[in-house]
């Protein structure tokens, strides 16, 4: 079965169907149904995935696309790509359900009504592209998805966003294009210099040997990914885009699209240019650690809920990049798991913040207070999502943050210690936000709030369930990730970590 092609074709066909529907309501229902079908298919596919298989990319399909240049329609997944596709497949139906009224023009201070059908069709198109970008095993195909993803997101922000949507959308587009063009140059140069006549990733691994060439090509890819992820100091587009995007789009933007950046670092930067990656490691680690602390401090100072969440994500992307460039088994697995967990916990935060904002029509923290008293469920779930954001053990983010920090500490103790201070700052930004919005005497403007309705509960429940389940039992996901990360690291040629005690024993023999 061409599983991956089916996974992309279903949402594309669904998008066509959605745009042809007569009524808005039908469009929404169809979109939800299509996304659930994709989720089910992803589940069936994942069940057939064999983590211990010798074949690295499973469900592989390779067809010639532009034979003259060796461009293929090549797709396939290893454990890393699989969990990210699964993340997308889980988030999209949740986002669709959460966005039910986002294009209707209802809600306090909502933007004017826009085409509902287009919005949901765009969501499905985006889903196909998200699956495609993680599944691509051809570097050129990856680039095409990488750029094409911008288009639906650009329209979702630019047409359906908040008051500053135009500015935010253009900024998002400009930054991404800048990075994308650098990558295009690097992709073409890679093809020419490798001189293998193909863009297929597996055949390009280990081909570029010259250290200087590696460095230039590495930078081309890395800057594109660093803008995408985004790492400090390439991050300033994200708070604007995430704050102006409708909550659902913000979830996919921060939860999935940005992960393409960190995924790209792990897959392409490390494996294609291992020597350059090691050469630039000190620089990337500095950027990551600065981003962790800086993002957290700026988050503390925010007065807008959505911008605050966006800055926490900048801090979290620092953790992910740190884990990737620590180049240890725990760091890499932790970073990959972090990409998944961050998608769920930040997704939950954005969506519940969206519900809050829908009721009040303001994203200013100062406009809230004492919500817990009138809407305890809304407040309680917001707290759980927030606690996952601050990596409370028992919730999913903890495992990944712990693994990233420990994996980093194995090799780079000082950066790991500085990064660990992020756990204190995270408590400050999350709990202070919670204190200001949810506790204290109930603000006048909040008194009429209703608690989460049935639809909203269905949005929040699966997210919370996943966050708790992966918090206590991350093994199923880690078992899929670990072999893929080991494979990646073996292509980078780094020594496995050994504890000091075992090291001494080995030396003594």
């Amino acid at each position: 079965m061409p599983w991956l092609s089916i996974l992309m074709a279903v949402p594309v066909l669904g998008a066509v169907g959605v745009s042809l529907t007569k009524s808005d309501k039908l469009a929404k229902q169809l979109a939800l149904a299509v996304s659930l079908v994709v989720l089910a298919l992803t589940g069936v596919m994942a069940a057939q995935f064999n983590p211990s298989s010798a074949t690295r990319f499973q469900f592989a399909e390779v067809y010639d696309w532009i034979p003259r240049f060796g461009v293929h329609y090549g797709v396939g997944v290893d454990g890393i790509a699989l969990v990210l596709i699964a993340l997308s497949a889980v988030l999209v139906p949740i986002v669709i359900l959460a966005s039910w009224h986002d294009a209707d023009g209802t809600g306090a201070a909502a933007p004017p009504k826009r085409s509902v059908k287009t919005y949901f069709a765009l969501l499905l198109v985006l889903e196909a592209m998200m699956i495609g970008v993680f599944a691509a095993t051809d570097v050129f195909l990856f680039y095409v998805f990488f750029e094409a993803m911008l288009i639906p997101m650009y329209f979702m922000i630019g047409s359906y966003g908040g008051a500053q949507r135009s500015y935010a959308a253009v900024k998002f587009l400009l930054y991404s294009l800048f990075g994308g063009l650098l990558m295009l140059v690097a992709v073409i140069a890679l093809y020419v210099i490798a001189d293998k006549g193909t863009f297929m990733f597996p055949e390009l691994v280990g081909v570029i040997q010259d250290p200087n060439t590696q460095k230039w090509l590495f930078l081309g890819f890395f800057i594109a990914f660093a803008v995408k992820a985004p790492l400090w100091p390439f991050h300033t587009w994200l708070p604007d885009a995430a704050a102006q995007a409708p909550a659902g789009a913000a979830v996919l933007l921060v939860g999935v699209l940005d992960k393409v950046g960190t995924y790209g670092m792990l897959r392409f930067c490390l494996e294609l240019f291992p020597d350059a990656a090691k050469f630039f490691t000190p620089l990337v680690i500095v950027l990551s650690v600065v981003g962790i602390v800086y993002g957290a401090i700026v988050a503390i100072g925010q007065t807008d809920i959505k911008r605050l969440i966006a800055y926490t994500s900048i801090s979290h992307f620092g953790f992910i990049a740190l884990g990737v460039f620590a180049m240890t088994a725990h760091g890499g697995a932790g970073a990959t798991l972090y990409m998944v967990n961050h998608g769920f916990s930040t997704g939950a935060l954005f969506l519940i913040a969206g519900f809050l904002i829908y009721r009040r029509g303001s994203s200013q923290i100062a406009d809230y207070g004492g919500v817990q008293k009138v809407a305890p469920l809304l407040a309680g779930t917001f707290l759980i999502a927030g606690l996952s954001g601050l990596s409370l053990p028992g919730l999913s983010s903890f495992v990944s943050e712990f693994m990233v920090l420990m994996g980093t500490y194995e090799r780079y103790a000082v950066p790991a210690i500085i990064a660990t201070s992020g756990v204190i700052l995270a408590a400050v930004y999350i709990l202070w936000m919670y204190q200001r919005t949810m506790t204290g005497p109930t603000a006048e403007s909040v008194k009429g709030f209703t608690d989460l309705n049935i639809r909203e509960r269905w949005v929040v429940a699966p997210l919370i369930a996943v966050i708790i389940a992966l918090g206590f039992f991350p093994k199923p996901v880690l078992d899929v990730i670990n072999p893929a990360v080991d494979q990646t690291l073996s292509n980078v040629h780094v020594d496995q970590f050994t504890p000091a005690v075992a090291d001494k024993k080995g030396a003594g023999q």
């Binding site: 630019g158 959308a169 201070s421 709990l431 204290g440 991350p474």
Partner: protein, 640 residues
């Protein structure tokens, strides 16, 4: 010197299912939180039942442990792989952990029962019991875990429960602020604990207690795998974690604010159990501390400094709960001192921890009973003469009081004296400071008793005090019985030291208990002086309803030794400024630079923000479409 014994994997029996201790209260919490208002009617009963069930499991496990030969009294239970290759969810049932489990579930159940009465008028009583159950589960995981990572899960779990319960009345801004403060200060400690765990992992390649024996640690130092400095660092980092959780200097500031929580919470979490977790951590990590004398010395110094600081704070508080909180800090200081003194100290520290769990819970619940009677008044200057109206509360409270000041033959007499004597043998200065602390304890606790139960009635006009219902007084009676006898039971014949030996080790020659010793007599004398002084100031003399201004020293103590002022000046204010500056720089600096660059390239003079639509957007889109055309052309050429 007797070392801890090896851990034996266990199956069968109640120990084999001892995970139920954690699972049952966790289930209770889940049902009560998910069930919502539907469970309001019987929620509190379920909460009590789950806690009692955990207690039963603990008792039976304890009996099973007693039935095993000493060399097999450390039982390991595998549950599942948590983080594959790093840490499993596994339990370690040994004399140390089961002692804690008994305290947590025993005192915890009494406090659950008491709360039925205390919280009976609260519309959110069910949620309260859900959080209490959550706390019990997390606390049990903390003490029963067989490795540092699983311990950390429980460690932060109790932090969460503490956060939720301090802020239980979160419509009160002070409660919400106190909850946040407690969590953040604790996170500073957790930062230390995390780094300690990383260091243990990179040094030893394991985080399981069973792999980290004293022999392993000294072996690593011997082979050069770990330097002495590394082991000392591990000890100090663990201590930082312990200081956060146990409110020891310099991370003590959150505990007094934590009194914003309902009083049963103060009794259970902020007196009897959670705040003692730091002591547990230090004792459980004995292998590292015993190999790092410097770290041990720091533990004792922190303990002594905190026992004095807490006692001084206790002297100046008019709020009965804050007075007790200062006292808790101080008593944990004693335990910390003991925990820094090796195996003999461990036994006394944990014994004091257990007796303190009884008499302090006893007094906190007694204070709750008083507040219950006095319309939630906490100012002792508005109490007085309550002995006659609430006899059960008063008598049990006074028993707790006699126990804490070390009145001969009561619990505190045995356990605190043990710590002081052991400290004296190690270091005279530390020992005498601990004696001075006991004298101050005599003063501030007597002051509390005189101001609350004796002297003139200084009640508010609308106060009509009455004795609390039996659901509240019965737990008081049970706790006070423990406050009387438990110390003698544990200490005489070195009963507890022998029991703990398989878990924490013991010296070859067990210490004999001296009913008459220099330190003991000095302590008693100082306590008597303190109590007498309190009598003259607060018993015989009139207590003003408004606190007098007081000397510099009084202000110093009232303001918690300027701990908060220090934190505000050093961290909070600079932190707020830093955040503001960072936001400014982020908006204007980095973003402004990029925007300016974009504007320059785009040929516009203004900033991008002013270019609302049109120009830049079409420019950007044209790039995108341009790229698309290039790609398209490539495709076309490629197909030719």
């Amino acid at each position: 010197m007797q070392s801890p014994v090896e851990i034996v994997q266990h199956s069968g029996g109640v120990i084999g299912v001892s995970w139920l201790m954690i699972a049952l209260p966790l289930l209770g919490a889940a049902i009560l939180l998910l069930g919502g208002r539907r469970t309001d009617r019987w929620g509190h009963l379920l909460g009590v039942a789950m806690s009692l069930a955990a207690f039963v499991v603990a008792v039976v496990s304890f009996v099973e442990i007693l039935g095993l030969p000493e060399s097999e009294r450390r039982r390991g239970i595998e549950l599942y792989q948590f983080i594959p290759g790093v840490a499993d969810m596994g339990l370690l049932i040994d004399p140390l952990s089961i002692s804690f489990a008994l305290l947590i579930t025993g005192v915890g159940s009494l406090i659950h029962i008491y709360s039925i009465g205390y919280m009976s008028h609260d519309p959110d009583r069910r949620r309260f019991f859900a959080y209490l159950n959550l706390f019990v589960a997390a606390m049990l995981l903390l003490v029963l875990a067989d490795n540092y990572v699983a311990l950390f899960v429980g460690w932060e779990g109790v932090g969460l429960a503490s956060y939720l319960l301090i802020g239980f009345w979160q419509f009160k801004p002070t409660a919400a602020a106190a909850a946040k403060k407690a969590f953040i200060v604790n996170r500073v400690g957790d930062f230390g604990l995390l780094i300690a765990i990383f260091t243990v992992w990179t040094t030893f390649g394991s985080v399981a207690f069973g792999d980290l024996s004293g022999a392993t640690v000294s072996g690593a130092i011997g082979s050069g795998a770990a330097s002495q400095g590394t082991i000392t660092a591990i000890g100090l980092l663990l201590l930082l974690g312990a200081c956060g959780k146990s409110a020891q200097l310099p991370l003590q500031s959150w505990l007094l604010d934590a009194m914003e929580g309902p009083t049963p919470v103060s009794a259970l979490i902020h007196a009897a159990t959670m705040v003692t977790a730091g002591v547990y951590l230090v004792v459980r990590s004995g292998a590292f501390f015993e190999a790092a004398p410097t770290a041990q010395l720091v533990v004792t110094i922190v303990g002594v400094a905190t026992l004095l600081a807490g006692a001084i704070i206790g002297c100046a508080k008019d709020d009965i709960k804050k007075g007790l909180a200062g006292s808790t800090m101080s008593q944990i200081g004693y335990m910390m001192l003991g925990a820094g003194l090796g195996p003999v100290g461990y036994a006394f520290a944990i014994a004091h921890l257990i007796t303190h769990g009884f008499f302090k819970a006893n007094m906190f619940l007694g204070a709750g009973s008083v507040m219950h009677a006095m319309n939630d008044e906490v100012d002792m200057r508005r109490y007085g003469g309550l002995f006659s109206v609430m006899k059960v509360t008063a008598v049990t409270f006074i028993i707790g009081y006699l126990a804490i000041i070390g009145f001969p033959l009561l619990s505190g007499y045995f356990t605190k004296d043990g710590i002081i004597e052991t400290a004296m043998e190690h270091n005279q200065i530390l020992g005498w400071l601990a004696v001075v602390g006991a004298g101050i304890t005599g003063f501030y606790m007597s002051r509390m008793i005189f101001m609350t139960f004796f002297g003139k009635k200084r009640w508010a006009d609308d106060a009509h005090p009455h004795e609390s219902p039996s659901v509240m007084t019965v737990p008081l009676v049970i706790l006070s019985i423990g406050s009387i006898f438990l110390g003698a039971f544990l200490i005489l014949d070195n009963r507890f030291m022998k029991f703990l030996a398989p878990a924490v080790g013991a010296p070859e020659e067990l210490p004999a208990f001296h009913f008459v010793s220099t330190a003991g007599l000095a302590t008693l004398a100082l306590v008597a002086v303190g109590a007498a002084f309190a009598w003259f100031r607060y018993g015989a003399a009139e207590v003003p309803q408004v606190a007098p201004r007081g000397s510099f020293l009084t202000t110093f103590a009232r303001r918690d030794l300027y701990g908060d002022a220090l934190n505000e000046t050093l961290f909070m204010r600079p932190g707020q400024w830093l955040a503001r500056i960072a936001v400014f720089v982020d908006n204007r600096g980095i973003d402004g630079l990029v925007n300016g660059l974009a504007a320059t390239i785009g040929g516009t003079s203004g900033r991008l923000r002013r270019v609302q639509t049109g120009y830049v957007r079409s420019y950007a889109l044209s790039i995108l479409f341009g790229a698309a055309v290039v790609v398209g052309a490539l495709l076309y050429v490629g197909n030719m």
